[in-house]
């Protein structure tokens, strides 16, 4: 096999600790404890190894990355390694002084999540009373610190109708960019799918809202938006293809082709405590398993889109079919594609209560 392409992006999940309890959290259902977390010096080594592998962009995430008191030291390591650093945060743990320290340490960009545009709903979805108001203050502090801001709105059936208000909120907060991110249904979100999955009409209205706002706000606000898998005919090139352009490191040091891959069974993922990032990327069985097209089953094998979508998402394939090596059911050519329609129909009933993300409370996979 030829050498794999060099990775462009690294997601560093610094911790799984978080004061929010979003029912669609992308962390694995088995959350790492604080005692298992890598220390700042080890993150520094990981960042230097990433930069020499070809990584340009670093996403500092969690959990809530600011749950770590040594976050500024970690940011300084990223800047010293020459990586573009993006802090992905809930905004509820950082005050203006800590934020200034992060800016001084070389932080390039802040991405703030909001759960809704309406306070009561936002606090209910995030599971933290007072969280939304704190986020609004934080956004102002980000601007005052001179840092560029992206607003990240995770959308689903219970807030999608307020997308116009979310767009207004992004403008009001001085964000240069808005990510409208549909929930992806594995892990915690799969457990809450019936409460979250939007119907077709609601989705079409949202898609039209985005198209109109993009026209009206051209040059003022960049809006990123992707139609969710459950209403798609073709799968996404998840992570740009397994082991092709992206890697993640978990709080405890596991090197993963995607932040959700830790939940896939039958893998022995490399750990930065025992191996270099270069060895994990180029030499490990885990990264090689679904890389390229050789592993593909029908109908991916020989498909003209095999190197466009790379077979879609392995985690979604496992979540819906029980086999991580099957075609992503988001593809209309998948023999399991009907499962998505079925799920949309089932979710059309009255939404059940959320199962909130909790340390030690296990979600069904």
């Amino acid at each position: 096999m030829s050498a794999p392409p060099a990775p462009l992006g690294l997601l560093a999940e610094l911790t799984h600790r978080c004061p929010l309890r979003c029912p669609y959290c992308s962390n694995p259902t088995e959350l790492s404890r604080a005692s298992a977390e890598l220390d700042a010096a080890t993150w520094g080594r990981v960042f230097r190894e990433a930069a020499s592998l070809g990584v340009l962009q670093l996403h500092l995430s969690g959990g809530e990355p600011a749950a770590r008191r040594d976050l500024a030291e970690i940011v300084a390591h990223a800047a010293a390694a020459g990586l573009y650093s993006n802090l992905i945060t809930s905004g509820v743990l950082l005050d203006a002084a800590r934020l200034r320290a992060l800016a001084a340490a070389g932080l390039d960009h802040v991405q703030l999540s909001v759960q809704d545009a309406e306070e009561a709903s936002a606090d209910r979805i995030g599971g933290l009373s007072g969280g939304h108001a704190r986020k609004l203050r934080f956004a102002a502090e980000v601007r005052e610190a001179g840092l560029p801001l992206t607003l990240n709105a995770v959308v689903h059936r219970q807030n999608l109708d307020r997308l116009p208000a979310l767009i207004d909120l992004a403008l009001q907060l001085g964000a240069g960019r808005l990510e409208v991110a549909h929930v992806q249904y594995y892990g915690w979100a799969l457990r809450n799918r019936d409460a979250l999955l939007p119907g077709r009409q609601q989705l079409d209205a949202a898609t039209a809202t985005v198209a109109e706002a993009r026209r009206a706000l051209h040059g003022r606000l960049v809006i990123d938006y992707v139609v969710p898998d459950y209403h798609a005919h073709r799968p996404k090139a998840c992570m740009g293809g397994w082991g092709r352009s992206f890697l993640a490191v978990s709080p405890a040091g596991k090197v993963l082709p995607c932040h959700a891959a830790e939940s896939l069974p039958g893998f022995d993922f490399p750990n930065v405590r025992d191996t270099s990032l270069a060895e994990a990327w180029s030499g490990s069985e885990a990264f090689g398993r679904f890389r390229g097209t050789d592993w593909m089953p029908e109908p991916c094998r020989g498909c003209e889109r095999a190197e466009v979508d790379w077979g879609g998402c392995r985690c979604q394939a496992f979540a819906l079919t029980g086999d991580a090596a099957s075609t992503d059911p988001a593809c209309s050519l998948s023999p399991h594609h009907h499962l998505l329609d079925l799920a949309v129909r089932e979710a059309a009933a009255a939404p059940p209560d959320f199962t909130y993300r909790e340390m030690g409370a296990k979600a069904a996979v």
Binding site: A6, L56, Q57, Y84, P148, H218, G219, V222
Partner: protein, 91 residues
């Protein structure tokens, strides 16, 4: 934002122009964004210092490449208007 001859532009906040040594190229990096400028675009981006106007950049390039000014001006304006629309450069 309108981009005219007198406009003074710089890279937008959060955008960085840097060398990508692994891939032997220069890139503009932003949040979830990566632009690979061609040779001409790279020359223009390097001249965005937050002090020079678009006119001054056109003058510089026209002199350096000994090319007709109107053609250079049209190229520079088209590129910078596109980048401004995408949030890569700002006044």
């Amino acid at each position: 934002m309108t981009v005219e001859g007198a406009t003074v532009l710089r890279l937008a906040r959060g955008m960085r122009l840097r060398e990508d040594a692994t891939r032997a190229r220069w890139v503009v990096i932003g949040p979830e964004r990566l632009f690979v400028p061609d040779e001409i675009a790279l020359e223009i981006l390097r001249l965005l210092d937050g002090a020079r106007s678009v006119d001054a950049i056109v003058d510089d390039l026209a002199a350096r490449y000994d090319a007709p000014r109107p053609a250079i001006e049209a190229d520079v304006l088209a590129l910078l208007r596109d980048l401004a629309g995408r949030g890569v450069v700002a006044a």
